[in-house]
């Protein structure tokens, strides 16, 4: 597996940081939805799991999911979301990274991406248990995190994959992915 070049790394961190900014705009919407519609609120929560998965689908190298997720969380923390999101970013990114590693960084399908999102969601649930967000009545716990997991799957498995495909169509991804060996043999024609 190819190691990260400096360009890969800078793109990874930039992607994380841009997600952090989009998250900020997202959060403004989300705050409006927050008190009124608890169901919609959980369904939109999946956006928070997209960063790492999206970056990996884009660059397809080891470490990318974790680094992008930390970068995104770092930016969120930097613009006032509180330092604790860094810890969440780390845990969520690590969960997705481990899943991709389990498939030797060779699977990029919707299902794998979606499951990576659910893994991130599970990691954030683990932290929520310590934080105290999970001390709910059983029915409320199941509804809250059930919806959140579904949302995680939709945002990472469907939306992130679709955005990466749309980016592939634009041609920008071509210059950031490793060159296939066959390309070199075409030089001799």
């Amino acid at each position: 597996m190819k190691k990260l070049t400096f360009t890969d790394l800078l793109i990874t961190i930039m992607v994380g940081v841009v997600f952090g900014i989009l998250m900020k705009f997202w959060d403004d919407l989300y705050t409006v939805v927050k008190p009124m519609m608890p169901v919609a609120r959980q369904l939109l929560y999946g956006m928070w799991f997209m960063t790492g998965v999206f970056a990996f689908l884009l660059i397809r190298k080891p470490g990318v999911a974790l680094i992008a997720s930390i970068a995104g969380a770092g930016l969120s923390a930097f613009i006032g979301h509180g330092l604790e999101v860094l810890i969440y970013g780390f845990a969520q990114g690590l969960a997705a990274e481990l899943l991709f590693a389990a498939f030797r960084y060779r699977k990029f399908s919707m299902v794998i991406a979606g499951v990576a999102g659910v893994f991130s969601c599970a990691a954030s649930f683990g932290l929520d248990m310590f934080y105290g967000y999970a001390d709910l009545e059983t029915w409320a716990l199941v509804v809250k995190y059930g919806l959140r997991a579904i949302s995680a799957f939709i945002f990472t498995g469907v939306f992130a994959v679709l955005i990466v495909r749309a980016l592939e169509a634009t041609g920008v991804t071509q210059s950031i992915r490793p060159v296939a060996k066959e390309e070199y043999s075409l030089l001799d024609r």
Binding site: L22, G82, L83, F130, A140
Partner: protein
Amino acid sequence: MPAWFTPNRETWLFRVNPALKFMIFVLLLLFTLFTRNLAFVSWLAVLFGILLYGFSGYPIRKLALLSIPLIISFASSAFTMMLFGKGDTVIWQWGLFKISEESIQHGLLLGTKSLTFGFVGFTFLLTVQPVLFFYAMMQQFRLPSKYAYSFIASIRLLPVVVEEIQVRSNALKVRGITFSRGMKGWGERIQAYAVPLFAQSIRRAQRIAIAMEAKQYQMGAARTYFYPTSYSRMDVVFIGVISVSIASVSMVAFVMN
């Protein structure tokens, strides 16, 4: 914006090594995250409230303004937990809403934790310069330079990204684009913004990385630093203040109960 974030006076907190400050604050956060003792967390909130309001060097008016979202998040997370939290000693019940002694406890714990995190976060953010923070991370904590400069380069471009979001939003209006309702609409909306924004940002990141390497930047190579950072007496003071406070808070919370 930057002018708003200039303190009235630079307090001793500014002179603490930023990387050390960060590390200690993160340790405190981890500690707080895993604690379930309400009295302890409440005292921590008071402690960091004092640190923020008393020693960040910003006027009370600004700090109060910054605290509004913290108060809101305290209230909203505490109330949700009180109404839906688990517990057996029921005080009041109406349909799905149920308030119990335990849920009140949990609600207060959750709210107070949020408040503590908020105070710690702002204390750090308001007393640190991002570039110096990364220089200190490289020098005192051996953070590889590739991460530090990638972050600095990315943060530098934030205003450009924000401007592009605005242009995109205007362009979508001019093109008369409308979105479906429900989840599908959210997908369309994300895609409409994400694709052009990421296309621009990826290309920009790639160009900057190439330009940096063209300026003879090498990952892992030895380098000198424009901003030398080190430990000073202030760091000893800082560690002292934090340890004494934590010790006394623990005394009050754990021993005296």
